[in-house]
Symmetry: C2
DNA sequence: GTCTATACGAAGATAGAC
DNA sequence: GTCTATCTTCGTATAGAC
């Protein structure tokens, strides 16, 4: 159910996704909705957000494994380009969907904020490890995250992966310059 | 009604906003909904998107009037920071809300794409005027737009204007370097 | 733990009077 | 052009049996 919820949130948003949709998509038994999620849709949305945040965070950490922030930015962006192109630009980021859709309670919004903060932190850690100062690293991490998430929205609206391609190129340049500039002169 | 719709879309998303909400917020007569919008919610959402796109586009063009892209980026971001802070981070960009919420038909999504394209073009034109090459200008304009829109989402999720402040600073640096680097050496 | 049935309300949309 | 009334569908949530 949670996996299906994440997929449907990505396509239709939170308010646009009903339990009936989730049950149909997941094939889950209908009687178990309020058994597993006694808090109703709010609780369900929070769980979906946590799950999606962890999943995407895992992908991001995987991309960051080589301690090469430039390659990680490109790899993370390429992952999203693949998602967008294979799904005809119908599906975006579930965490953004939660953040933009205020229908559920404030807990859901906070869960989205936590996910973003975790991703940002993962990025900043690697930048610091590559010699970038802490403040700049945090600032750059926010730019990368905002840029990619914003570009995903643009891609969906325009039915094209071009915005994300352009943003990925610019971000790679900026991050590359920051890493190079912070390294001790050879 | 359209003005109210834009405000409510910003706060609750498209699926989360009903005609009853719009009527209550705007004080418009109830009988006139399907008189003015025979196409129902789809048509209404498209009109709201066009209106909001024009409004925000006007603000952006105003910020760009001095032909100073760096100041324009800061000014545009500051406008959003003001909106976020004065509204307790409840309201974001209505065009993003439309792009993320697939509930209405494809026409709405296209209207959002048109708005983004127009803003991007406004930005790129000024960059070109300042000597930036056409491809780079387009690429930078996409980065600025994606970065700011993405940061607005992060701000809402985290209940803070910090992401947008950081992104605005980074974008100002990048745009400043591009403009400076493209000017003929003095 | 899952099922059926259903209460309750809300939303989109339409009809016809004024 | 606006109003009231209403139809229909859908969505959340609950109750109680298996």
């Amino acid at each position: 159910m949670i996996r299906s919820g994440a997929q449907l949130f990505r396509e239709r948003g939170v308010s646009g996704t009903s339990f009936a949709d989730v049950l149909e998509h997941s094939g889950a038994p209908r009687g178990s909705v309020y058994h597993h999620f006694p808090g109703g849709k709010d609780e369900f949305a929070i769980e979906v957000t946590r799950y999606a945040g962890g999943l995407i965070g895992g992908a991001l950490r995987g991309a960051l494994e080589g301690d090469d922030p430039v390659a990680a930015v490109r790899s993370f962006a390429d992952m999203w380009i693949g998602v967008l192109e294979s799904g005809e630009y119908a599906a975006g980021c579930p965490v953004v969907a939660v953040a933009v859709d205020a229908a559920p309670g404030p807990g859901t919004r906070a869960a989205a904020g936590d996910a973003f903060a975790a991703w940002e932190s993962d990025l900043a850690v690697v930048l610091v490890r590559r010699g970038v100062g802490e403040d700049r690293a945090r600032s750059l991490a926010t730019l990368v995250l905002s840029g990619i998430e914003g570009a995903i929205v643009l891609c969906r609206a325009q039915g094209s992966a071009e915005p994300l391609r352009r943003v990925a190129g610019e971000l790679a340049t900026v991050v590359g310059a920051a890493v190079a500039g912070s390294r001790p002169p050879a």
